[in-house]
Amino acid sequence: MDYKSSDGYAGPRSEDILPASATAAVKVVIVGGFGVGKTTLVGSVSEIRPLTTEETMTQAGVGVDDLAGIEHKTETTVAMDFGRISINEQLVLYLFGTPGQERFWFLWNGLFEGALGAVVLLDTRRMEVSYDVIGRLEERGVPFVVGVNAFPGAPRYPMSELRTAMDLDESVPMIDCDARDRASCRDTLMALMRYLYTLTTVSTESQ
């Protein structure tokens, strides 16, 4: 249970407290369609039970259900689950899961700004979401790897076939990722870090 203080607000449990020496954080975004395993992945590697943060988007209503004379606004609230990995005494890594559908892209501005990179969790049953996501990440210049979360009973395709289907550049790593398995999720994150490492060293050498 969360610790509830006299003011009624929960705070971190004692085991979830970061050391006072924590000076800075970095983030990685896990993106994919509904039910693809984003939260499962976050939960598999997080040192805290995944938490949920919300963001709201307000839009002026467009004529539907309008009451005469009353300004009509709709508010969409989107929840993002996230987790945390303490890298060392100073550095903390946060993992955010965000839905990949286009209507949630408004979340992306604050989220991808300063992010190290992204893991696209691919659902082989619904490829089109990942297709849009990948295009969008490429546009934004966010480095990413693709994790293929193979669900039991989901169609299995060779990686090369998936790569072709998504029109994915040869250089972008693809890796099998069982979102329930800690080691598998760690390896997926490692694949992202190695990829970033390659990109960084290549760009340093070419300067």
Binding site: G11, P12, A25, T200
Partner: protein, 122 residues
């Protein structure tokens, strides 16, 4: 301070009125402090007794560093509502902000090595 237990008159988190009161109707602070989801917030001093409950909760919670995202989760407040509240606490000097590691176009090699070493231990 009253005892524990839910206040029957308390409004549920996310209630628009509550959000309005918290931000004073202001969602865009004039002096824009760049607060990222992973900016770490740490309390600097004993909390000022005149603070609003949500402000006090932040000050108490951030005895040890907490990210903006974590504070938002624990207070059940959207980040857009929390940001002006934090900005106010920052300007009063109640809390300090530790910005995320800046990653220009690409993160630096040392940072990546540190993360890889950390992940290796999982």
């Amino acid at each position: 301070m009253s005892g524990p237990g839910p206040d029957p008159t308390a409004q549920p988190p996310g209630n628009p009125d509550r959000l309005y009161i918290l931000t004073g109707g202001q969602t865009r602070p004039e002096a824009k402090t760049e607060l990222d989801l992973v900016t770490l917030i740490v309390t600097r001093s004993e909390s000022d007794p005149g603070l609003q409950p949500e402000h006090t909760a932040v000050v108490r919670m951030c005895d040890f560093p907490l990210s903006v995202a974590e504070i938002s989760a624990y207070l059940e407040l959207p980040v857009s509502t929390l940001t002006p509240l934090l900005t106010e606490l920052l300007s009063k000097g109640e809390v300090e902000a530790r910005p995320p590691v800046p990653t220009a176009a690409l993160p630096d090699v040392q940072l990546l090595e540190a993360v890889m070493n950390g992940l290796q231990k999982l």
